[in-house]
């Protein structure tokens, strides 16, 4: 009898202890509320719109979440995203070598991430200062590389369809369901990195290095290497977000991606990641970006007089604080 009681108790403890419990409840709650009050919200057309709008920030958020779990973050991902978009755009349009374009768009931002990590490890300066500086520096490199010009094309290179093709079979089956391949890439990356985080030695070391640096180092975890790898992955993911962006809009601006770093951090927090490190999940990050994207769509469709679409940022602010308080409360109960 006591065994049954213990098992039930363990179960009760594990459910709220799961890092995605908070964001999942928020997501469902927000969806139900909007479905009740917003006409046409609970349709595949609006749901596909919400998902498509979440893909770019979402890809960046995967990396940011990884960094937040290891106890760091990166403000320069927006600039890296622009770098990825320009590299990919220029090499697909001019040289027409899509593989080379894709590799460069992942490699260069990856190296930029590595430089962030390297400065942090070598100097011990907090990631806020390091990446605030490189955010401006990398934006400057984008400006130099692009010659200060925006990049736009009307060419239809086949690789654009790989990253932003219409999923016609869904659109044919259900009217208005405008799903893009970008969403598949994003969801694929979410599951890949969730799995890497929870089921690999590297993932274990990420949690340990963020949760208790001293204990991790005392057990022989190479904390510096782990952090460096997180910065590199986050950079490459930002570059990939640039690839998705250019495939979709076929335009890259100097200012492309500016502000994405903050929305990504917001999404990671809404998704249950702790700014102090050691806790969070990539699935939570997925839920976080979906919550923010859903709020955006919902608010626009609601068309309230005092919160037009342009004033949406205020809602994001409210959401971050609300989600942080709510997630803390859920965690505290366990």
């Amino acid at each position: 009898m006591s065994a049954v009681a213990t098992r039930r108790e363990t179960k009760r403890r594990i459910i709220p202890e799961s890092p995605i419990a908070g964001p999942l409840v928020t997501l469902i709650g927000v969806f139900i509320i909007f479905s009740l009050f917003v006409p046409h919200f609970c349709t595949l057309r609006s749901v596909s719109g919400i998902i498509n709008a979440a893909v770019l920030t979402g890809t960046v958020t995967i990396g940011i979440t990884l960094l937040m779990i290891v106890g760091e973050f990166d403000l320069s991902v927006g600039s890296m995203m622009a770098m990825g978009a320009f590299l990919y755009g220029l090499y697909t349009v001019e040289n027409g070598n899509p593989l080379w374009a894709l590799s460069l768009a992942l490699l260069v931002p990856g190296l930029m991430g590595a430089l962030n990590g390297f400065i942090l490890i070598r100097t011990g300066i907090p990631s806020f200062i390091v990446t605030l500086s490189t955010m401006f520096i990398y934006r400057g490199i984008v400006w130099l590389y692009s010659g200060g010009q925006m990049l736009q094309t009307i060419e239809q290179v086949p690789i654009y369809d790989v990253f932003n093709g219409r999923l016609d079979f869904i659109a044919d089956a259900v009217q208005g369901a405008n799903f893009r391949t970008a969403a598949l890439w994003f969801v694929g990356l979410v599951f890949l990195f969730q799995y890497v985080l929870v089921r690999t030695r590297f993932g274990n070391h990420v949690f340990a290095a963020g949760g208790n640096v001293g204990a991790a180092a005392a057990q022989g975890v190479n904390v510096k290497r782990t952090k460096l790898l997180c910065f590199i992955i986050s950079g490459a993911l930002a570059g990939f977000a640039g690839v998705l962006l250019f495939s979709q809009f076929k335009t890259a601006l100097i200012a492309t991606g500016a502000g994405t770093e903050l929305t990504a951090i917001a999404s990671a927090v809404v998704g249950g990641a702790l700014l102090t490190g050691g806790s969070g999940s990539i699935l939570g990050a997925l839920l976080g970006v979906l919550i923010i994207s859903m709020l955006r769509t919902g608010i626009i469709l609601l068309n309230l007089p005092f919160i037009p679409a342009d004033n949406f940022e205020a809602i994001v602010g409210v959401t971050i604080v609300g989600a942080a308080i709510f997630n803390n409360w859920v965690r505290g109960r366990s």
């Binding site: 363990t10 403890r13 202890e17 089921r199 690999t200 208790n212 001293g214 204990a215 005392a218």
Partner: protein, 253 residues
């Protein structure tokens, strides 16, 4: 030679000197731990206990002096090296990651994994089973190996760190103030685990600033003050009050 054996000591540190800038943390300290001995390392805060242990763990390198491990002269230049020889330390705050499960803590740094391509995939089920079995083996019962360490009591946490060190074949276990934050009942448990470890053939260094925490389990006491060794005493040579006085510097020896 509290155990009366003639075996080579597990660890022998000779004339250890360590300066930090202008401060002399250790000034020619000798320190010996015999096989299967519980050696209490006593001293007031700032006496040099931690520095001595960090040198033994490879966190600091001594400016002068020689360390012998099982009779062999060694240069311990990293914690990894110390662990490879069989020295395991359980630090008070640095032992476990509270946000991670018991299993993940138990195997941290030596996870069981299958290598596929460049990625090491964890064998979680196997590690869960082994954690439960290994802790039961040293007399520690847990509810679930998936439970987060942060939900455990201080004594349970300490016991898991000790159980981990025992399981992974430590020859010398270093316990840094393991009972200073614990209740009486939990302290008793940790002392039991310490004796278990000794019975299994381990040597233990038990660091404390309070002799009452170690009096029941220690075979010998080494007392240091202001970076110098005051002396090493066998069990029964001095009373608890004598030792407390020496630590505090009330009495010279």
């Amino acid at each position: 030679m509290s155990n009366g054996t003639n075996e080579t000591p597990v660890v022998h540190m000779e004339n250890i000197v360590k300066h930090f800038g202008t401060i002399t943390a250790l000034d020619g300290v000798d320190f010996t731990v015999e096989k299967q001995q519980v050696m209490a390392l006593l001293g007031d805060n700032g006496a040099g206990k931690s520095t001595l242990i960090k040198i033994l763990m490879g966190v600091h390198t001594p400016d002068r002096g020689q360390i012998y491990f099982e009779g062999q002269p060694v240069r311990i230049n990293s914690p990894r090296y110390a662990r490879a020889m069989g020295i395991e330390a359980c630090y008070q705050d640095l032992a476990l990651v509270n946000l991670m499960s018991i299993t993940r803590n138990f195997f941290l740094g030596r996870e069981l994994a299958r290598k596929i391509g460049p990625i090491n995939w964890l064998s979680m089920r196997k590690m869960n089973d082994l954690t439960r079995a290994a802790l039961a083996d040293v007399g520690i019962k847990i509810r679930s190996p998936a439970e987060k360490v942060g939900t455990l009591s201080g004594g349970e946490r300490q016991s898991i760190a000790i159980g981990r060190a025992m399981h992974f074949g430590a020859k010398l276990l270093i316990l840094d103030e393991p009972t200073s934050a614990l209740s009486v009942a939990e302290t008793r448990k940790v002392l039991t685990y310490t004796l278990n470890a000794k019975e299994r053939g381990l040597s233990v260094i038990f660091i404390s600033h309070n002799v009452r925490h170690v009096y029941q389990v220690a075979d010998a006491y080494t007392i240091i003050r202001h970076g110098r060794k005051v002396g090493t005493y066998a069990k029964g040579e001095l009373t608890e009050d004598d030792i407390a006085d020496i630590i505090a510097g009330v009495r010279e020896c």
